[in-house]
Amino acid sequence: MLQIDDLTVRYRTPGGEIEALSSISVNVEKGATLALVGESGSGKSTVALAAMGLLPHEATIPAGRIAFDGNDIMTMPAEARRQLRGSRMALVFQDPFSVLNPSLRIGEQVGEGLVYHRDFSTERAFARAIELLDEVGIVNPEAVAKAYPHELSGGMRQRALIAGALASEPDLLILDEPTTALDVTIEAQILELLEQLRIRRGLTMLFISHNLGVVRRIADQVAVLYAGQIVEQGATEDILHRPVHPYAKGLLAAIPRLGEKKQRLAAIPGRLPDLRKPPVGCRFAGRCPFATPDSAAPQILRDLGDRKVRCTNAEHLRDTPWPHLGDGAPGEAFTAPVDSAPIVVAQKLSKSFTLSSGFSFKGWRPAATVKRIKPVDDISVEIAPGEVLGLVGESGSGKTTLGRTILRLVEPESGTIRIAGETVSDKPQRALEAMRRTAQIVFQNPDSSLNPRKTVGELLGRPIERFGLAPKADIPARVRSLLDLVRLPAHYADRYAHQMSGGEKQRVGIARALATEPRFIVCDEPVSALDVSVQAAIVNLLADLRDRLGVAYLFISHDISVVAHLADRVAVMHLGKIVEIGAADEIMNAPQHPYTIKLLSAVPRVDGPARQTGHLAAQPD
């Protein structure tokens, strides 16, 4: 159905030309689902854009052929291509929040393609849109078709987008990270829906994702991309259970798995090669623990049994597992003194926000409607010194607000907070000096958490200067030791945020929190913005720091498997309340609350029983 041969794509950038894809060949059979897996920078989205003919202006295609149903679409006139794009192939984008036009009704957007490609009248298209919305499992499709995008939840919007893509009865559906922006329970529903549609309509799908668990649920075939090349390609179960290429091995080893608590995760050291001058030999060699002198020679994608692997050593490596390269030697696990007083005590904490104060008509006169949400609703938690309390919940459950309320970055409405024995909830902000030193925070987004105009040295030196922790002359030395603590070389002190990778930035963020020698750190989704291989290294680092320094964490994440790996205890949050709290193992193995059970069963896993389709009814949200 879709055949891509030898496709190379280059991008012109101010820093020079980079090769985003190098001789990619994939073939998607009719009715099959091929998944492209890779981390950021691997070029997976470029494949989707190239197939749709939507590459940006900076892109050039020096070589390659893309054939759709036997017709070469690259030699096609632009108009014919546009016709094809709207009718026989369709694309679903990653972010359902920005793709829909906010000023058009859902029904108009879903039916839009029909008006242009099938000469439907606007009314007929709208009627068809309602049918399509019904097909993708939206309850009350008539009302939803008349709604505007902002009135819909993320899951509903993604359903609407899929409905729009299906409107023109396409044969090929390209999905670019369709569930990445969604919560796990919604993700499970969308995957379920895609599976049903595939069976019902015989769709061919090209599915792009960084999440191997998701891929396992949906795809027959997997191609693993690294630095613009396919490094391994074959049947999904084969590759996920017995990866051969070292990168695939590393990627799988880096994923924290539910119910399998190890001391440290396996991490892939290093970073992507510079794609302006891609290495002649194996592109992964610099990060590969199995690299041999042969790796310097150009690698070709060759057949090995049923799969294709780009590695000269593939035969030898077939059964070798990824070595357990912990990010540093795991030390003695920290054990808190049993009788010590808790470092953080929060009692009956509440916080509510007024969302919108729009107005509606009551009879003939307008009346203000106030919508209030309560992201923190009468919550009490305690954290012992050196303990990791994991906080799990879906978006909007109030996890971030709870973390910030404990630190008084958000003012609580009621309740008491005690940190290190000091009651901090009734003091004015300027009297919080001691607490600000004891309790720190690590943020989610490494791009936003570091001031782009300051060097790492300034960023790390400021807290030390602010609290007078060292004489001015000693600050550079303290900065160096902080960098050493998070395993960054000392010369990073001169770098700016934009000169570092995401993982490095997050390390600096952690170092900044550690600069005041705190006893408690709120980690607010510290790994959510990172790739799997980097995520593993950061999680290991946090675990090491806990063991060495005895810092307690409130570890907030939407990813239960990461939380389960790191935390001693886990709290599950739902609509502003903690619905279940207990030892991590107990929660993972024997969850009590129905919401916890739902959350756990929705997590896409890379192991466990094969293909878990059909176990979660596609419930409308």
């Binding site: 950038t13 600000r436 570091l450 001031n451």
Partner: protein, 291 residues
């Protein structure tokens, strides 16, 4: 998404050595030349700028007087060169006035929100509601006009746009996590405003300020033209054009020379500002790679 990421990884190493943008080079060349000429004017001007000579009235441009002479026989080139200093001083000092008031105003409004925002921005709105020339007239009409009062008045007129820009930049920056991080170490508000937010607000402010320099030069000249700025026999460009207006049919060079000079300076400073933005904004290059 991966496109952007790829660009980022590539940009990591490339960051320090980026070529200067073309606009910046051209802008620097034009503005630099004008500034140097202005500074050296007393030494390089071929004739005294204020000596009246009735024998050489209305001489058309020739080899002796490259740009001709005016109605009092003064060399137009010498006067224009001397006028450069006045125009530059006017533009720069007016802009400094508006920055000094507008930036703290905008920072406070954007950071505190609520009633502080309302109070400051409504005050700016009131200021904006009065046409620039009117405001200048108002200030200058009640007191005898001098050059420094003109630049103060012009600076005053340009407070609202600077304050608005500073506010809008602050609004976005105030939501960044590094501001939360600063709060989490109990930093003083003044530190957050001037050390965390301001350095990030500079690039758009510099661009805006450079545009304001050119507007200020034009407005200052306009006020001088109306007789409310520099006073004769001063050789302010606006004033020169005003005086030459009556002879525009007989001796167009008297008005055209300072006119061209002003034009060139405005273009030069604008290019400079545009180039500076491209150069200063660390995030612009990822955006360029993406779109």
């Amino acid at each position: 998404m991966s496109v952007e990421q790829t660009v980022e990884t590539a940009a990591v190493e490339a960051a320090p050595r980026r070529p200067l943008p073309m606009q910046l080079k051209v802008g620097l060349a034009i503005t630099g030349t004008i500034v140097i000429l202005g500074l050296l004017a007393p030494w390089i001007a071929p004739y005294p700028w204020d000596t009246i000579s009735m024998k050489t009235r209305f001489v058309a441009p020739n080899t002796t007087f490259w740009f001709g002479t005016d109605e009092y026989g003064r060399d137009v080139l010498s006067r224009t060169l001397m006028g450069t200093r006045l125009s530059l001083a006017m533009g720069v000092s007016a802009t400094l006035v508006s920055l000094a008031v507008g930036v703290p105003m905008g920072l406070a409004a954007g950071y505190f929100r609520g009633w502080v925002d309302e109070l400051l921005m409504r005050a700016a709105d009131v200021l904006m509601a009065i046409p620039a020339i009117m405001l200048g007239l108002l200030v200058l009409a009640v007191t005898p006009p001098t050059l420094w009062k003109t630049s103060l008045a012009v600076g005053f007129v340009y407070i609202p746009p600077i304050a608005r820009l500073a506010r809008s930049v602050t609004l976005t920056l105030a939501n960044e996590e590094f501001i939360q991080a600063a709060k989490a170490r109990a930093e003083k508000t003044s530190y957050i405003l001037f050390r965390e937010i301001l350095p990030n607000a500079w690039p758009p402010l510099i661009v805006e300020a450079s545009l304001r320099v050119t507007y200020a030069i034009l407005l200052g000249s306009a006020l001088s033209f109306l007789g409310l700025g520099a006073q004769p026999p001063s050789s302010d460009w606006g004033l020169m054009i005003a005086e030459a207006r009556s002879f525009i049919d007989r001796a167009p060079w008297i008005a055209l020379t300072p006119g061209f000079a002003m034009c060139l300076l405005v273009i030069g400073v604008n290019l400079l500002g545009d180039g500076a933005r491209e150069r200063l904004d660390p995030r612009l290059k990822t955006r360029m790679g993406k779109s």
